[in-house]
């Protein structure tokens, strides 16, 4: 009976969230569409060059519906977007949808590895820092956190390239694969995963090593922030009554830390992690540029700089979609981690 109620409640919550996300995306698309078109500069003229005859530019404007009133343009765009057609990029001359599908996996792969690093390192540092609060270990980790939070991504990227690429030649610093290695057959678009699917360990190893530096650069700031959040959670929770009870029962400290203390302490971090993972879609352009990592973020920044209308709107809407999806996932994970949330919602 309780299970049935729980499932119904969960499904209802999920559907409401999806509907709300849909409304938010609609609003986002309108804002992005209007802003893209009122920004200064003629994107058609910029794409074609100043010498191209006006009749060519007019033809392109007609193809892009730019000769129509803005609300008609939006309706036509929405109609196409709902069928997956986000228009053509003035810059790449290909459909924005195919550009995004081609480039998104590279960014997702980078985000994925970055999150692994963030989770792993942040938990270790946060727990240690919280366990040994106000000690030398805590202070050292605090210095690391401040450095991580204050050093810009491009500085971290360049430092990593200098040390591990240029000076000691330990790791590759450019692209997704060495030039002598062929791309594996595309299944997910994530080279490490596709290499594993293809059973090609050499390609996997090569791709794995190529992703280490950009993933490290991408994770530095967030790791520092998450470590502090986890530390705060550990410090707050370690004085709770249930911890004292567990200690009084003689449960080893290591078990208490990992089994009883970690879960509630990382709940705030999970929420932050979700948002930062989504925000990485936008700020990763710096890292993607420096490491020559052709991804979605880099594509988005190019679209903004060149006022590539369709690509701009497509990137903003897709980013919003990813944000919405991640927020829903974060909520679900938070519910799983914190039974109090589950119980409260079910009883309602």
């Amino acid at each position: 009976m309780i299970d049935q109620k729980r499932i119904i409640a969960f499904t209802r919550r999920l559907l409401i969230r999806i509907a709300l996300a849909g409304f938010a995306l609609l609003g986002l698309s309108i804002i992005a569409f209007v802003i893209a078109r009122v920004l200064p500069g003629d994107p058609v003229r910029f794409a074609l060059g100043p010498s191209t005859p006006e009749w060519v530019a007019d033809r392109l404007r007609e193809q892009m519906n730019l000769d129509k009133p803005i609300y008609i343009q939006y309706v036509l765009w929405l109609r196409d977007a709902l069928s997956g057609n986000l228009g053509e990029s003035l810059f790449t001359r290909q459909s924005v949808t195919s550009d995004i599908l081609r480039l998104m996996p590279a960014t997702l792969e980078l985000i994925l590895y970055s999150i692994f690093i963030q989770i792993g390192v942040a938990i270790v540092l946060g727990v240690l820092s919280g366990r040994y609060a106000n000690s030398l270990i805590d202070n050292l980790i605090r210095v690391f956190s401040y450095l991580g939070a204050s050093i810009p991504h491009f500085v971290t990227s360049i430092i990593l390239i200098f040390i591990f690429g240029l000076t000691y030649g330990i790791l590759p610093y450019r692209g997704r694969l060495s030039s002598s290695i062929a791309m594996p057959p595309r299944i997910t678009g994530m080279v490490t995963i596709d290499a594993l699917f293809a059973g090609n360990l050499v390609t996997f190893a090569d791709a794995f090593l190529h992703i280490i530096l950009p993933a490290l650069a991408a994770s530095f700031v967030n790791t520092a922030v998450l470590a502090r959040i986890i530390r705060a959670g550990v410090v707050e929770n370690k004085d709770q009554d249930y911890i004292m009870m567990a200690t009084s029962h003689g449960i080893p400290e290591r078990v208490i830390m990992l089994k009883y203390l970690l879960k509630p302490s990382i709940i705030p971090a999970v929420a932050v992690m979700g948002l930062t993972a989504a925000s990485m879609l936008s700020y990763l352009f710096v890292i993607e540029s420096i490491f020559s990592w052709p991804g979605f973020a880099w594509y988005g920044m190019n679209a903004m700089v060149t006022k590539d209308l369709n690509a701009m709107v497509g990137v903003i809407v897709v980013t919003g979609l990813v944000y919405a999806a991640i927020n829903i996932v974060v909520d679900l994970v938070t519910e799983y981690l914190d039974p109090r949330i589950r119980t409260t919602v079910v009883s309602k």
């Binding site: 074609l48 010498s51 001359r93 450019r174 990992l258």
Partner: protein, 592 residues
Amino acid sequence: MTRRHPKKIVLNSGIAKTQSLMITAIVIIAVIALLIYFFYPSLTPVPEEKRLYRMTLAFPTQIDPAVAGDASSMTACSNLYDRLVYQGHNEELIPSAATGWEVTPDELDWTFNLRNGIMFHDGTEMKAEDVVFSMERLLEIGEGAAYIYEPYIESVSVVDDYTVEFALKKPFGPFVGALSKFFIVNKDLLLEHVETPGPYGDQGDYGKDWLLYNDAGSGAYKVKEFLREEVLKMELYEDYWDVVHPNAPEEIHQIGTTEPIQVRAMINDRELEMTDKYQTDEALEVLDGIEGVDLYVHPSGPITYSITLNTQKPPLDDIYVRKAMFYAFDYEALKGAFNQYWGAYGDFMATNIVTSTLPGAHPNFTVPFQRNLTRAMEELEKSPYYGQLDDYVVEHHWVSEVPAREKISLLFASSMADIGITVQSVRTPWLTMVEEYESSDTHAFSIGFFLDYYEALSELKMRYHSDTASTFFQNAWLLNETIDTMIDEAEATSDQTDRFEKSYDIQEQVMNMYAEIPLVEWVFKQGYQSYYLNLTEVTKIPLFYDVFAFCRLIEVYPEKRSELIEGSNSLMIITPQTTLLAIPKKYIGKSI
């Protein structure tokens, strides 16, 4: 019976679970590390037998000749396709797919004889119909270099399998040289890949979609792989008709990045043979210091950086104000303001309103402009605006994406302050600047650009003809019928000597209008692996917009690359270890 305490059971299973998870994690990490250690190729550059030529260029690269217009795309097309003829850096016209040409006395009909036996990459022979199709396609699509030919070409037709006729609407003297940007595509192959419906009526999309990733050319190289945002890989075409050096690259990689840190790292690791033209002087200095790497310096043809003055907007609509500004500018201080490497790499002060290294540039404009405040004040006092200059603020717009230009703008302002003219430096994003150029609402701009064909006349037309007044090539807004007529007449003159004389007249006329303060003639500087690259042959016929266009003439010595990588002591020098100055001798000695 032994009774185990329930809590101990819980504790034991909890500890065991944690321990097993940790052990599993350690095992996974160890396995991955072992896999990497045993299977990953060495991280140090592997000496390769293959002759590779890798260069960095800006993204994106278009390999459709009807769309290509930027440097990266033109370089790719130069290797993937053939053209009828091209113009070298030293003014000469070099037959390529055409063996020769004739023109009727009225200069309206040009007949080109096509070379026999030029094979496309699919094994079919190039015929006159391919040339006709290529030009018609270019004009129909209207992008890329189409604007050069569209005002002049009436029609193009097949005379026979190896003869093509171009009928012009009006005489165009530089016509043959202008064909340097016209590439020939395989008609039958493209028509097989046309997608319908498309924006070009019966021709559908004209094969544009297919040409995003494939080539339809006959050039010395063909597309091997194209990862659009990363690299264009081209491999040598074995049946190419023209000279291919025995040590020519077997593969060319056009890498889509100009990030200085990446370029430096790749050059250092010998994973890049030639840098792009956009590296800063600071980056070039570092590259020059790397063993086995040198800089190649060559005229940019043209990149003349100047301050163009809007002759329609007060107070610049008065010639005396413009003359005063011309004489008041502190040209000497410009060297220090421009960059710390002034002269080290060959940039020199402008001496003309067109780039002095261009064919047809006036030979008598050889003295660098100099500051003369006395003369400036004399001119200013003749102006009706004299005494009212406080009512005017001259805005100088410069591209914000190039922060180094701010110094020049500030120097302009401080120079003009000495004669009582207020100049405001306005940092302007590129997109905004493109829009501003369409109106005659700004006082002064600074920008650089590239030519349609390799003559001073092309620069004159782009900078001063009324037809280009609303483009970012100019801001002078002369709108002068006399100058327009002079330019049109010069372009209609097929005899080069006569055309150059007319060009000199135009330069003198425009110089006397003081519509511009010419500042610097830049040179291009590119780092390259001088230890294992020989550029002697390729630089004998440098294309005017890309001296290294013909990669088939570049010599690559992979065994020398291996020596560098392995740190051999027995090094043999192939090319001089000094910076090459490829500017013609008559220009050497100018303010370097």
